[in-house]
Symmetry: C2
Subunit: 240 residues, 2 copies
Amino acid sequence: MADQTERSCPGRRRKARVPLNREAIVDAALAIIDAEGLEGLSMRRLGTALGVEAMALYHHFPGKGRLLDAVMERLLDEAVLPPRNAMPPLERLRHFMESYRQIAVWHPNAFILLVYRRFNTERTFQVYEKILEAFDDAGFDPPLAARFFRLVGYYVGGAGMADIASRAREPDATPVKLEQFAGSKRYPRVAAVVPHLRLANLDAIFGFGLDVIFEAMRKQAAGRSGRRAEGARAQKRQKR
Amino acid sequence: MADQTERSCPGRRRKARVPLNREAIVDAALAIIDAEGLEGLSMRRLGTALGVEAMALYHHFPGKGRLLDAVMERLLDEAVLPPRNAMPPLERLRHFMESYRQIAVWHPNAFILLVYRRFNTERTFQVYEKILEAFDDAGFDPPLAARFFRLVGYYVGGAGMADIASRAREPDATPVKLEQFAGSKRYPRVAAVVPHLRLANLDAIFGFGLDVIFEAMRKQAAGRSGRRAEGARAQKRQKR
DNA sequence: ATATTTGACCTTACGGTGTAAAGTATTTTC
DNA sequence: GAAAATACTTTACACCGTAAGGTCAAATAT
């Protein structure tokens, strides 16, 4: 992973020396995070991987914070919302949520950025906009869109994080693991449930939760679009 | 916040010199995190607050990781599961989830510990055990308990994190805020929904999500306990 | 009462971190 | 060809967690 690209190659046929660019830096940063964890990414380490001194990076990013923002954007690119005409809006949203979780699976060390840090760049706002557009397409007015947007967002973010914790080996974790308590007499309920929380089941569990949430959305959307058109029964939760 | 307690008071009537203890250290650590953020907590900083050199702390904790584990336990103490005979199991769980989120409100800087780090100590396993006991009381078999445990856990963890991000001023955040886009023509959906995501609404939004999840749990539990007993619904506290 | 052990804390040091400030060399522009 | 801009380096500072070993008062043993 430490490629040490031959950008400079001291004596040999100096080739116009292509300079670094933000994209290459972000790629390298994500590669390091994937390989060595978030705390494995330091400016010096990143510089070395790119064949450059740490301070050179400050020519392309004002600081590590902005670099991490760029890594977030890069991650978000992997979460795709299917095009508007491809399928019904709720299905589009479901696809997005599933691919969002995939980010946690593919980049377990980096995913926390999406949970911990604010979405503060233009690109991330474009994502918000498209998601909320789909909510609107599904027939949710802004107050209800806000509620379900949060519900599903909380869930997906939390699921990604918990997935990671399950797979986890963060820097200074205690060696104790869930599995060690599986046969414990002192924690019988934990022992009974733990077998169903294994890695192999996480996909199904995640899908189950999405089922519950999207089922609720489907009902509300149906009620709404009904009322919107003429006036049906509708779930009366709304308020204020 | 930097109390610099007079534990040593050089010349004056040296008073048996009460030594530090883990509890006092954890209290001080949490106080620092609350006041200055998670990255504001360093061993040196903590030592200073306690009137002691940093290395003295290593007499009470093997390292910063174990100290953070202790802070997690301290935080978890604030999430209370009402006693078994106080109310029906699903209501007990709901109370727990609400108080769990309160941790995020009271300790926004520390809450991420509960999401990011594994639960690895005895005390945290006791919490798991009691929660799963309540699931059992509610009539869920282990596979279904696992699913709903995750669903509600993902949600509550994600909600806490997102709440924090909303209130956030993490170390190197971009100055851009959601509100700056409220009137934007470029993000009309965001502009429409943002007013409903303000701090004042977060409690209601969180409650709405819990409503959806617990409604689904109620239905499933009813189906289960009905099948389990004979035909009645029965809240039925049962078992050991 | 004295000697010994122990517990609690301190000092020093090492290799890391992000980044401010200033220097250097190469490329581009006029 | 001179001037300006760009890309990168050097050096330095104030932090970080913690390993290793030292110090000194209180507790215990003799």
